[in-house]
Symmetry: C2
Subunit: 508 residues, 2 copies
């Protein structure tokens, strides 16, 4: 069967990924090393994600703020473990002026900064400094804030949405009086991320704790949601960190408790980024391009009038204008429906396939015969073809379409989630009992899923040995699922008594 993209997932998953992004006009290389241009369709999806996640962040009591892009070097020197994790990949501002020299622009040597500034790779240090000003007494706690921002981590090999030098994200930062409260917060936000990924992005995830070697630099515990891409690899789609007193020690975030004693605050941080868009693509895309879940689609329903430069065109446009108006007055997912009438001067078939590749959930075509019959032709992006391989375009009465559009969008959302969930559920092997079986599992198939294995949760050098062995097999430890069964066997790595189950897989 012929598809809209020139490369299929089966042929070359990486090339397919790039093709989806290009054909859906989501993003492109910018000419600036490691940075991309996010085009309207890609940015529109991000705006939808922002809106829905921001609502949940606010509903859980957090307020948005904005902190500086630049962080003085000295802030990083205060927290050794944190800087070790980031120092190797930061953009450093050293000058604040340019001059002309021999006809070329160069940094002005006389405008060299006394203290270089780092472009934030994450904001624990500068937000910690603010917390130390805001927190004096137990009455000032908790502090619950979030910011939507751009961050920069220098990366040698970049990949659009998945790994770019600059990316967009939200970073939540909180300070609490007790360990219990901070841990509750860490897990609450992990749950917000899980629900957001599953309900809004229709992307099933496994929520759990990262093993020690995968912790955020400076964290006491790091939790993640892990999603399975269609090539079987894992994508870490969001993280939530319990930071203990690491940053409150470094930044002096102290409070007087109810008994009058000075205590260090317990802090957390948590983030979701434009990487989630990469996850959406690799979860829902198919060989005809992207499929966007309706809740995060910039347009949920696109109407393509089939114009032929004839007298009948005016009647078709009028018919479609009425339709888009009626659709936009509907509600779906407790928000107004987002329908678009695509009047651009291009061939209807070109526009139809353009919207198929962009993944608009529902595409409606209207020709003069539809107008005459009071009908529309409806394509659902989640089931594009009939059994016989032909495009599944169904003629529906216009009024019936308006009456069913909201529930149809809800069906598409549910179908995309159900597809992805079914794929995930069969792709986690829980039966592997030794490393030979583990090795076999990941070499037997071109597209293995993950293995959930029992382990002794080794630490330090013993853990490092496991990690290095896995690295040799191009495998990584993903997380210890929150809802995994208790361990009841031996550790497949050490042979010792297992204490929990950990997910192993290839990853992005």
């Amino acid at each position: 069967m012929k598809h809209a993209l020139s490369v299929s997932r089966e042929q070359d998953f990486a090339a397919w990924y790039q093709a989806v992004i290009a054909e859906a006009d989501m993003a492109e290389e910018s000419g600036v090393r490691g940075c991309m241009v996010i085009r309207p369709w890609g940015y529109g999806i991000w705006e939808r994600m922002q809106k829905l996640l921001d609502e949940q962040i606010k509903a859980t009591g957090h307020e948005n703020c904005y902190f500086p892009l630049f962080i003085p070097l000295s802030y990083f020197e205060k927290e050794a473990e944190h800087v070790d994790g980031f120092a190797k990949e930061m953009a450093v501002v050293t000058h604040h002026r340019l001059i002309q020299q021999d006809g070329k622009l160069v940094p002005d040597p006389e405008a060299k900064l006394e203290e270089p500034l780092v472009v934030r790779p994450t904001s624990e240090t500068v937000i910690g400094a603010a917390f130390s000003r805001w927190v004096q007494s137990w009455r000032d706690l908790p502090v619950l804030i979030n910011q939507w921002a751009n961050v920069v981590r220098w990366e040698m090999r970049t990949r659009m949405f998945l790994r770019t030098a600059e990316f967009l994200w939200q970073e939540g930062h909180t300070a609490h009086a007790t360990v219990d409260e901070a841990m509750d917060e860490t897990l609450k936000m992990l749950e917000v991320y899980r629900a957001f990924a599953e309900k809004c992005v229709a992307m099933p995830v496994i929520a759990g704790e990262k093993p020690e070697n995968e912790r955020f630099p400076g964290a006491v515990a790091t939790y993640s949601i892990e999603a399975m891409m269609q090539d079987g690899k894992a994508l870490q789609a969001g993280t939530s960190h319990f930071l203990g007193t690491t940053f409150s020690q470094a930044q002096n975030i102290k409070f007087q408790n109810a008994e009058g004693q000075q205590e260090l605050a317990q802090t957390t941080s948590w983030g979701v980024s434009t990487r989630m868009i990469g996850g959406l693509i690799m979860t829902h895309g198919d060989d005809d391009g992207l499929r966007v879940p309706p809740r995060v689609a910039p347009y949920q329903i696109v109407i393509v009038p089939m114009l032929r430069d004839t007298e009948e065109d005016a009647a078709i446009v009028e018919y479609c204008t009425d339709l888009v108006h009626r659709l936009n007055q509907l509600d779906a997912f407790r928000e107004p429906v987002r329908a678009l009438l695509d009047k651009r001067p291009a061939k209807a078939a070109t526009k139809r396939w353009g919207w198929v590749k962009k993944g608009a959930p529902i595409v409606i075509e209207v020709g003069s015969r539809d107008v005459a019959g009071g009908n529309v032709s409806v394509i659902r992006r989640d089931r594009l073809y009939r059994e016989d391989g032909k495009l599944d375009s169904r003629i529906v009465a216009k009024d019936d379409l308006v009456g069913s559009a909201a529930s149809m969008l809800e069906e598409v959302q549910a179908a995309l989630f159900a597809d992805a969930k079914a794929r995930l559920d069969v792709a986690i092997d829980e039966t592997i009992a030794d490393i030979d079986a583990l090795k076999a599992y990941f070499t037997a198939s071109k597209k293995p899923g993950w293995a959930l294995v029992q382990w002794a949760k080794p630490t330090g050098a013993e853990l490092e040995k496991v990690v290095q062995w896995l690295k040799g097999e191009k495998l990584t430890l993903r997380n210890v699922p929150n809802d995994a069964a208790a361990a009841d066997g031996v550790c497949i790595f050490t042979g010792g008594a297992a204490v929990e189950r950990v997910l192993v897989g290839r990853s992005y």
Copy 2:
């Protein structure tokens, strides 16, 4: 009369401005040179501004994108006039890694960038490069895009919201086939800004064209909206630029026209920034703090329960919970009302004055006597005091308050605009006929407004002479109002025949 702030506008306007920001918890110094921390109340106002302006930007056919933070130096070298305007105040990234040296973190000499990167001061160059990829044929035009982003301009003397090294803004960028269409776009967005400033921020403005010396670097024409602060100074609150072919030449934005010939595109750009928050403060603030127009207030109605640690507290909280619930189900300005029940553990009077200083449009207090009588006590922030100087707190039946809350918010919005408009209207002197009178006007009063004077619209060296003379008087040319009467006299600067009327004033 005693007020909530320790300094009045009359005493020291600059100190008053800082006091409003501090007492309303809007923003604070970050410890990073020239950068501020925008706290929840300040950022919440920005979020409201973003939402309302973004709706208008989209309603006029623009789509949001995101472009790189970093711009290679060579992009600036292509456009001499543009770089002259910005090169002197840009943050330059020269290294991409840090190393430890003698126990200190320093930029790694081995990680020096071959080509330094500039942190965007504005994005014409990098967006122009994208346009040159996107535009091939007249069919690709117009391109209508916008981005919400942070930008950096190194500033020696900074002032919160008004002039900071890093600030937040939106920048619209468009490309068109003809001069006419690009000029229409330039003026359309100026009108969007005017309507936004007046209808949403309740800040009256004068829209007009900037004189040559005040043009954006590289622009053919620059338009602005100018607002009058309570000290009589002008604040440029938004600009819209017709860029002609300056950037399409530098970035090679060419298209094949319908006749098959290559042409350069005509481009525009336009922006509004967090500076608008500074304008809001200096337009509406009073000696008791900020007054936020309801349309951009994060919370429009705040309910303060007067709790006394007695048995009656539970009944008061229940009464207030019902009230906040009912208020939040109302619509005002065609959006859901934003009401908050402030349950923080602090004294009611402290909370009341906190919200007064933050400028919440309506503050409602509820004590046990109110509960017993089915009443609430209502304070309107736009008319805080009675004639006798006492706080104007009015007892209203709870049901009546719910019934009138939406229209009350609309009244507050209208009253704040009417106040500011009345101030502006009497503060523009249109009678000044020579420079002695001009000088007298600006020296006679401690708080002069603006002068609208006739001039010959000199250019080049002749204009520079005028600008320098004005500078000696600490005056600037603001703009030539779009709706000013035609000239009918002589130029007050040159004595020649006047061709138009230009606004003169002190400025931020």
